[in-house]
């Protein structure tokens, strides 16, 4: 068999996260503490789990409609109208997906033709670029800058736009930097988007986790709902990563095409998860508030600890990551993370796993109890001291 595999797939480079994961797994050392996860440390709130269990007891074990339970789509619409002031039609403008990840994939596939360019600000989540490639588009990276707190500026966007630009991915609140885009930032970006007739894929999976005012969706700005696919889900807000449930909202024309792919590839999102998600949206506001408070306290704890050990870090206002700069040690992110793991047994993710512009930074997750964070920070302090000694 000569050409066994797809060239497109073979040429996609494996995720930098994977590489680090393998190193940690191979070490298999109980002493290792990790600050490397991208999922909440909380269990799914009990009333939500209970609703999932109840749905199983009731024998709700069948497919739902391709688009997902109507009750769930209605709850999503009421949530978005309540939180963001955007009104979507549950019948035609909402699709329930298997996590936000599926929505990214099928959203891009529904939008692009060969040669179309997709703008991807980085550092950002690892899926956008490969999904763009798999969709047959050309990913165009916008390297975000620390001096802008990793926000996307209108100027950076303007410079990246060509006549082939079709889609802008807007990943805020951001994994891995923790950056957010406030209303004024979004307005500036929206102006460029409208002028160049670009579609926005706004990945707002961390939308509930902001620590400076409420999250603003770009879809809520004038003229933007018509050209935005809003992606969100239950993983981060309700600590439901394993339930694999997300959704996409957007213009009916786009959602119809996405639903087609979803229907053929997936059929429908897991039924149990959908019933649990209805409960999450109906009665989960307090859970979110409690988790957000806990994350915010940890965020402050870490920022203070970095300040005390002289580790430069802009103040991130979203998600559950901080993104400190380690350039002062004269090492690459990869070298720093590898040595930190080997010498102090703490796993963090090098910024470069999220794009070249992550060089010089580390992603540190605070989806851990304060107790665990303290242990890891103690080791980081010792490590930083050691590196400074070495430099002398």
């Amino acid at each position: 068999m000569k050409n066994l595999l797809s060239d497109v797939v073979v040429n996609i480079k494996p995720s930098g996260i994977r590489k680090f994961f393998d190193i940690v797994s191979e070490m298999n050392d109980p002493e290792v503490v990790s600050l490397g996860v991208g999922e909440p440390d909380f269990d799914t709130p009990w009333h939500i789990r209970d609703e999932g269990i109840y749905s199983l007891e009731r024998g709700r074990t069948f497919y739902t409609s391709n688009s997902g339970l109507m009750d769930l789509r209605k709850e999503i619409c009421s949530y978005l109208s309540r939180k963001q002031g955007i009104s979507y039609d549950p019948a035609h403008e909402v699709l329930i997906t298997v996590g936000g990840s599926e929505a990214i994939d099928i959203g891009l596939r529904a939008l692009v033709n060969p040669g179309d360019e997709i703008l991807i600000p980085q550092p950002s989540y690892v899926s956008y670029e490969p999904c763009a490639v798999l969709a047959g588009a050309k990913p165009v990276i916008i390297n975000l800058k620390a001096e802008n707190e990793f926000r996307l500026t209108a100027r950076e966007l303007e410079e990246a736009v060509t006549e082939k630009t079709k889609v802008l991915i807007l990943p805020y609140p951001n994994n891995p930097t923790g950056a957010i885009m406030e209303r004024k930032d979004l307005e500036a970006v929206a102006e460029v988007v409208l002028r160049h007739d670009i579609v926005v894929m706004s990945d707002e999976i961390y939308g509930e986790l902001t620590y400076k005012g409420e999250h603003v969706s770009i879809a809520s700005l004038p003229g933007m709902k018509e050209r935005t696919i809003l992606i969100n889900g239950f993983s981060k807000a309700y600590a439901m990563t394993g339930w694999r449930l997300g959704y996409a909202c957007g213009p009916a024309d786009i959602v119809r095409q996405m639903t087609k792919i979803h229907q053929f590839a997936i059929m429908c999102a897991p039924t149990t998860s959908q019933y649990a998600a209805v409960e999450a949206l109906k009665n989960g506001d307090d859970d979110i508030a409690q988790m957000r408070t806990a994350y915010n306290q940890r965020r402050r704890y870490l920022l203070n600890a970095f300040r005390e050990m002289g580790l430069e870090c802009f103040e991130p206002y979203g998600a559950f990551y901080v993104f400190p700069c380690i350039r002062q040690f004269g090492m690459t992110s990869d070298e720093f993370a590898t040595r930190f793991l080997e010498e102090e047994k703490v796993a963090v993710v090098p910024g470069t796993a999220f794009g070249d512009s992550g060089e010089g930074f580390l992603r540190i997750s605070y989806a851990y109890s304060l107790k665990d964070l303290k242990i890891a920070i103690g080791r980081l302090e010792r490590f930083v001291k050691k590196l400074r000694e070495e430099k002398k």
Binding site: I17, F21, Q297, Y301, A353, L370
Partner: protein, 160 residues
């Protein structure tokens, strides 16, 4: 700020105040003053330790006692409640709505000690009409803390 201080302290009263200030994004001096004020106002009534006595060699028996009483003229339930809660072995006394009046939580060293308290002291009070004593066999969760099992972190070490 008070609400957030209380939420943290309720879970961890041993937290370092400097650290508490960091968590809340406040000045340490403000946190210290606020706590002192809440202590003075009787909002914060004490700092206790949650102990799972079963893991020690110390024997303890806890009983919940439902008590029906005759309220006293002019004082309602307060004076009889006081006569009960003054006993040091009584941990808690609540006025309850429903089928009985006072819920008394009692801690003793042995079953006999608790029984003796109920029959000799509690039931002997003039205002007490009847009692029903329930012994606690096992504590699963106490003060919001799951006692039975501690869960390991089952997440993958590194995820995107």
């Amino acid at each position: 700020m008070r609400e957030e201080i209380l939420a943290v302290l309720e879970k961890n009263s041993r937290i370092d105040l400097k650290e508490l200030a960091v968590l809340l994004g406040a000045e340490e001096i403000d946190v210290v003053n606020e706590i002192a004020a809440m202590e003075a106002e009787g909002i914060i009534c004490g700092y206790h330790t949650l102990i799972n006595w079963e893991k020690t060699s110390i024997e303890k028996v806890t009983a919940l006692i439902e008590v029906r009483v005759t309220p006293q003229r002019g004082q309602g339930f307060d004076s009889v409640a006081e006569r009960i809660y003054k006993y040091p072995e009584v941990r808690s006394v609540y006025l309850i709505s429903g089928g009985f009046d006072l819920m008394v939580i009692l801690e003793g060293k042995t079953l006999r000690e608790v029984s003796a308290f109920v029959s000799e002291k509690l039931s002997a009070l003039e205002a007490v009409l009847s009692t029903a004593t329930h012994f606690i066999l096992k504590k699963y969760k106490d003060h919001g803390c799951e006692i039975v099992q501690k869960k390991e972190d089952e997440r993958e070490m590194i995820t995107p």
